[in-house]
C-alpha cells in the first residue's frame, strides 16, 4: 500500500516500506534535497522538517507515520527565500559551509511560529537541538532576533 501525505502543499506518495526514514523518501524519492542527512540519530538537526506545523527530525520519523499529514521542507518554507527567517539569515550572513542551515532555518521558523518574541535563553534552548560544525551560532542568534523584530 503506498503511503499518501502532503509535502509543501502538494500531494505525495511513497512506495517505500513504512519503517523507512522520512528523510530518505524526501531526499531520494521526492528529490527534495534541501533537507540533509547528518547523523541518522536525531542528534544534529540537519534533517529538520515540519510535520503538521511542528518541527520533527525526518531521520527519526518513519514514512508510515506521516500518512495523511502535512510535511513542510525548506523548499516549502517559501518559494522565493522570503520567509522572515530566511531574510534574516541572509541579512546576518549566517551560512558558512551551509550544510546544516536548512535544518537550522526550519528549527528557527518553528520557534518563531510558537513563540514570536523569544528571549535569548529561549533561542539558545530551542536551537541547541541543531549542530553547526562551522559554529555559526552567534549569527543564528542574531538572525532569530532580527526575524522576531522584523516579522
Amino acid at each position: 500500500m503506498p503511503i499518501n501525505f502532503a509535502i509543501n502543499g502538494k500531494s505525495a506518495q511513497s512506495d517505500a516500506p513504512k519503517a523507512t526514514p522520512l528523510l530518505w523518501v524526501i531526499r531520494e524519492e521526492l528529490k527534495l534535497t534541501g533537507t540533509k542527512f547528518g547523523c541518522g540519530t536525531g542528534l544534529c538537526g540537519a534533517c529538520m522538517v515540519h510535520i503538521d506545523g511542528e518541527r520533527a527530525f525526518s531521520c527519526l520519523t518513519q514514512v508510515g507515520e506521516v500518512a495523511g499529514r502535512k510535511v513542510t521542507t525548506i523548499e516549502g518554507l517559501s518559494t522565493d527565500s522570503s520567509h522572515p527567517v530566511q531574510k534574516a539569515w541572509l541579512a546576518e550572513r549566517v551560512p558558512q559551509c551551509g550544510y546544516c542551515q536548512s535544518g537550522q532555518i526550519m528549527s528557527a521558523a518553528d520557534l518563531l511560529a510558537h513563540n514570536p518574541k523569544p528571549d535569548r535563553a529561549q533561542i539558545v534552548e530551542h536551537m541547541s537541538t541543531n549542530i553547526c560544525r562551522c559554529g555559526t551560532y552567534p549569527r543564528i542568534v542574531r538572525a532569530i532576533e532580527r526575524a522576531a523584530k522584523e516579522a
Binding site: 547528518g38 542528534l43 541572509l90 559554529g135
Partner: protein, 736 residues
C-alpha cells in the same frame, strides 16, 4: 547584490573552453595567444576570452574563474573578487565560474596543484590574481585607445567601463569585447601599476558571498544531493584498522534484503549496491565480516599509549627528527640559572564535518570513462583517484565540483578514499552510484588529529631573561599517512604534525624543536588548526606557566618576547583592552594567549569559571584581536574567527576519540560531543586591517582556545590542566 550564474557551481566547461585555455598558456607562463578558429568560436558566442581566468561577454558579463574548494570559508567569492578589483570589474556583473580540475592553469601556487588547505587560498593566490586582473584591464584600455585613436594615458576605468574624460566618451567592457584584439603576449604589470589599497573598491568591502543565497533555501548543491537518472545507492563496510582486509565474508543476510543489487568484495572492505539508500545501509549492517590481522594499528589502545608517548617525549635517548634549531638550546639549558619543565597531552580528535563523506560516480558500460561528482579539498586528486581506480586516463573523467558540507582537513588526503569507494562500486555495476557513508561510518573510517605528548623545557639566565626553549613532541607522522606524495617531496618533514613547534616568533636566542616520531598505524589527518592545534596548546600553556613562575604578568611576558614586532604588540594590547585584562572577576578569571600563525597576528583571552563539584568549565566570553594584513572580506573574516573559536572550544572541552585494539570506540553524536549553541562563549572580535600581504583567517583562533582556557583555570585555581580535552572528570581530578 551579487549575480551568480544559477549553475555556476556545477558548470563543466565545454571541451572548446578547456582547449582554448590550454592553448593560452605558453612555456613562459601566461600568454594571450588565441587560435583564430577558437577565437572565432568564442566571438560567435559573444564572448572574448582574455586569459584563462576571465571571459568578458558582449552583454557586459565578466566571468571569473574561482580555483578554491568552497567548504564554508568563503574562497569561492574572495578569490575572484581579488581579480575583479584590479580588473575594475563591476561586481554586480561578475559571474563566478568554478575552475575545472586543471592544475596547469589553476594550481594553488603554494602546493603546485589544486588544493584548498592551510587557510592559504587568499594568501597564496593573491599576487597572481591581482596580476591577471590588471593584465586584462590593460588589454581593455589598449583596445579602447586604439578604437578612439587616443593615447592610453588619457584613459581611466570605472567599474566595467573605460572612460576618456577629455572627450566624455565611454565604452563598457562588453562593448570592447565585441571588437577586442588580444595581444600575443600578456602585458606586463609593474607592482607600481597595481591599485594602492586606498583605492580598493571591492577588497575590504563586504559583498554577499556567491554561495550564500543557495544556502538559505536548500538549493545549494553538495555531492550528496546529486541525482542521476538510473542511479543506485552504495554503502561500504571498511576494515576497522588500516591495512586489514576481509578474511571471511558472510553476506547471506545482506543479500536477502529487498533491493540489494550487488555485494562487492573490496581489498579493504565490502561494498553494497542497492536500489535505495535504506536497503544499502541495512545490507551493510547485515554483513558479517571477519578481518585479517594485517595492518599496524591492531592492538593499539590510545589511553594506554599516551603515557608511553609522554615518556618518549621526555626520554632524551630516543631518536628524534630535528624540526628547527636556533643557537644551542641544550648547552644554554645546561648552564641556565633556572630550568623549568612541563608536559602536555592531547587526545585523538574527529573532524565531524556535517556532511558524511560521499561521492557519486557513473562509470561507462565499457569501463573507459567516468562521470564524477564530489566535494573535496583537491579536485585534481579526485580525478586522479578515479582514473587510477579504473586504470584510465584522467581526461576520461568528467568532473563535477560540488560544495563541501565542511572540510576541516578531512577531504584533502592523497587517496580521497570515499571518492574511490563511489568509483569502484559504480564500476562493479556499470551504473551511476551514490555512495554514502553513514555518520557511524564517518566515525569508524575517521582519520583523526593525532595523539600527542609534548615535553618542554625553558632556561632563564641569572637576570631572568628567557635564553633557551626546547620542545619535543611525540606523535605520528601525519603527512606520511595523509599524503605520501607530499611527504616524499618534503623529504620526510611533517609540517602537518610539527609546524610551529619552535614558536619561531618569540625572541629566544636558543631554540630547539624535535619530533619524536611514533608509528601507531592509526589513520591520522590534519584537522582545523593543524599542527598548531596541539603545539600551541603546549607552547601557550607553557608560556603562561613560565610567566607565573617568574611572577610576571602573562601578557607582558609574551609582549616582551615579541617587542620588536609592532603588529604583534598592537594585537596584544588590543585584546587586553577589549577584555579589560587587569580587572578582577568574581568567580571567573581570564587566560591570555598569543600566536603568529603563518603571518596572522592573533591574541585571544578566555574568561573561565569552574564548577568545582562537577569539574565542568564554563567559558562565558572569548575576546580575539587579529591582524591578517589586507582584509579581503572583513565580515567573512569575523565569521571565520567566530567559527574557529567555537571549533577550538570543542577541542578544548569535550572532543575525544579513543581506540581499543586499534578500533575506534566512538560512533556518533551520542558518544562524541561537539559544541552546541548552549555550550559556546560570547565572542568579541576586533579585526585590525593593515596594508600587509593578506594572511590566513580560516582557522587562526582555533589553537588558542584550549591554552587560554587552561591559563584562565590556572589563574582561578592555581591548578594547571595539561591534557585536552579538559573534560569535567579530568578537571575534577586535577583540582583534587
Amino acid at each position: 547584490m551579487t549575480e551568480v550564474h544559477r549553475n555556476a557551481l556545477r558548470k563543466v566547461p565545454r571541451k572548446t573552453d578547456i582547449n582554448r585555455r590550454h592553448f593560452m598558456v605558453g612555456a613562459a607562463g601566461l600568454t594571450f595567444a588565441v587560435a583564430s578558429g577558437l577565437r572565432a568560436a568564442a566571438a560567435a558566442r559573444g564572448e572574448v576570452a582574455v586569459n584563462p581566468w576571465v571571459t568578458i561577454s558582449t552583454d557586459d558579463t565578466v566571468a571569473i574563474i574561482s580555483p578554491a574548494a568552497e567548504m564554508g570559508q568563503g574562497s569561492l567569492t574572495s578569490l575572484p573578487l581579488i581579480l575583479a578589483e584590479e580588473l575594475d570589474a563591476d561586481w554586480a556583473k561578475v559571474r563566478v565560474v568554478v575552475a575545472p580540475p586543471n592544475d596547469a592553469l589553476y594550481k594553488n601556487p603554494q602546493y603546485g596543484y589544486l588544493y584548498t588547505a592551510g587557510s592559504n587560498a587568499v594568501t597564496s593566490y593573491f599576487n597572481e590574481l591581482r596580476q591577471f586582473g590588471a593584465q586584462v584591464r590593460k588589454v581593455l584600455l589598449a583596445n579602447a585607445a586604439e578604437h578612439w585613436q587616443v593615447p592610453v594615458a588619457e584613459l581611466a576605468t570605472e567599474p566595467n567601463v573605460v572612460v576618456h574624460a577629455k572627450s566624455g566618451r565611454r565604452l563598457t567592457y562588453g562593448e570592447i569585447a565585441a571588437f577586442a584584439q588580444i595581444p600575443a603576449q600578456a602585458p606586463t604589470v609593474a607592482e607600481s601599476e597595481l591599485k594602492h589599497p586606498d583605492k580598493f573598491r571591492l577588497i575590504g568591502h563586504d559583498v554577499v558571498r556567491v554561495d550564500m543565497p543557495g544556502k538559505i533555501n536548500g538549493t545549494a548543491q553538495y555531492a550528496i544531493d546529486v541525482q542521476v537518472p538510473g542511479m543506485l545507492y552504495g554503502a561500504v563496510l571498511r576494515a576497522p584498522v588500516e591495512g586489514a582486509a576481509p578474511d571471511k565474508i558472510d553476506d547471506a543476510k545482506a543479500k536477502a534484503i529487498a533491493g540489494v543489487v550487488r555485494i562487492v568484495p573490496l581489498p579493504y572492505g565490502v561494498g553494497v549496491v542497492a536500489q535505495t539508500p535504506w536497503a544499502a545501509f541495512d545490507a551493510k549492517d547485515a554483513l558479517k565480516v571477519t578481518w585479517t590481522r594485517t595492518g599496524k594499528g591492531w592492538g593499539f589502545d590510545s589511553e594506554k599509549a599516551l603515557p608511553q608517548f609522554a615518556a618518549a617525549a621526555r626520554d632524551m635517548s630516543r631518536p628524534t627528527k630535528l624540526w628547527a634549531k636556533t643557537g644551542d638550546a641544550p648547552a644554554a639549558l645546561a648552564t641556565a640559572a633556572t630550568v623549568i619543565e612541563a608536559d602536555y597531552r592531547n587526545d585523538l580528535v574527529y573532524h565531524a564535518q556535517m556532511e558524511p563523506l560521499n561521492a557519486v560516480a557513473s562509470v561507462a558500460a565499457n569501463g573507459e570513462a567516468c562521470e564524477l561528482w564530489s566535494g573535496v579539498q583537491s579536485k585534481s586528486i579526485a580525478v586522479t583517484v578515479a582514473a587510477s581506480a579504473l586504470n584510465i586516463a584522467p581526461d576520461k573523467i568528467a568532473y563535477h565540483d560540488m560544495l563541501l558540507g565542511g572540510g576541516f582537513g578531512r577531504r584533502g588526503h592523497r587517496d580521497e578514499e570515499y571518492v574511490h569507494d563511489a568509483v569502484v562500486l559504480s564500476n562493479a555495476v556499470k551504473k551511476p552510484v551514490k555512495m554514502m557513508w553513514t555518520r557511524e561510518d564517518d566515525f569508524h573510517n575517521g582519520r583523526f588529529n593525532p595523539l600527542s605528548a609534548h615535553f618542554l623545557r625553558a632556561g632563564f639566565d641569572a637576570s631572568g631573561k628567557l635564553i633557551a626553549f626546547h620542545h619535543r613532541k611525540a606523535c605520528d607522522e601525519v603527512t606520511a599517512f595523509q599524503d605520501p606524495v607530499r611527504f616524499a617531496r618534503q623529504k620526510g618533514r611533517d609540517g602537518i604534525a610539527y609546524n610551529g613547534l619552535d614558536a619561531p616568533y618569540y625572541d629566544v636566542p636558543n631554540r630547539l624543536a624535535e619530533a619524536v616520531p611514533q608509528d601507531t598505524g592509526l589513520r591520522t589527518s590534519s584537522l582545523r588548526g593543524i599542527a598548531h592545534l596541539t603545539n600551541i596548546f603546549a607552547i601557550e600553556s607553557f608560556m603562561d606557566e613560565l610567566a607565573r613562575k617568574r611572577g610576571v604578568d602573562p601578557s607582558d611576558f609574551r609582549r616582551d618576547l615579541v617587542k620588536g614586532n609592532a603588529r604583534a604588540v598592537h594585537i596584544i594590547e588590543t585584546v587586553k583592552r577589549m577584555a579589560d585584562w587587569g580587572k578582577k572577576r568574581d568567580g571567573s578569571a581570564l587566560g591570555f594567549t598569543y600566536m603568529n600563525y603563518s603571518g596572522t597576528q592573533i591574541a585571544l583571552i578566555a574568561e573561565v569559571g569552574v564548577d568545582r563539584k562537577s569539574g565542568a568549565l564554563s567559558v562565558p566570553n572569548v575576546w580575539v584581536a587579529l591582524d591578517p594584513g589586507i582584509t579581503v572580506q572583513p565580515n567573512n573574516i569575523l565569521a571565520q574567527t567566530e567559527s574557529s573559536i567555537i571549533y577550538g572550544t570543542g577541542f578544548a572541552l569535550s572532543e575525544r576519540i579513543t581506540t581499543v585494539d586499534g578500533v575506534v570506540q566512538q560512533s556518533g553524536f551520542y558518544d562524541y560531543y561537539v559544541p552546541r549553541m548552549r555550550d559556546v562563549p560570547q565572542t568579541h572580535i576586533e579585526l585590525v586591517a593593515t596594508d600587509n600581504h593578506p594572511t590566513g583567517v580560516g582557522q587562526m583562533a582555533t589553537p588558542l582556545v584550549a591554552p587560554a582556557i587552561a591559563n584562565a583555570v590556572a589563574e582561578l585555581t592555581g591548578v594547571r590542566l595539561r591534557h585536552t580535552p579538559m573534560t569535567p572528570e579530568r578537571v575534577k581530578q586535577a583540582l583534587g
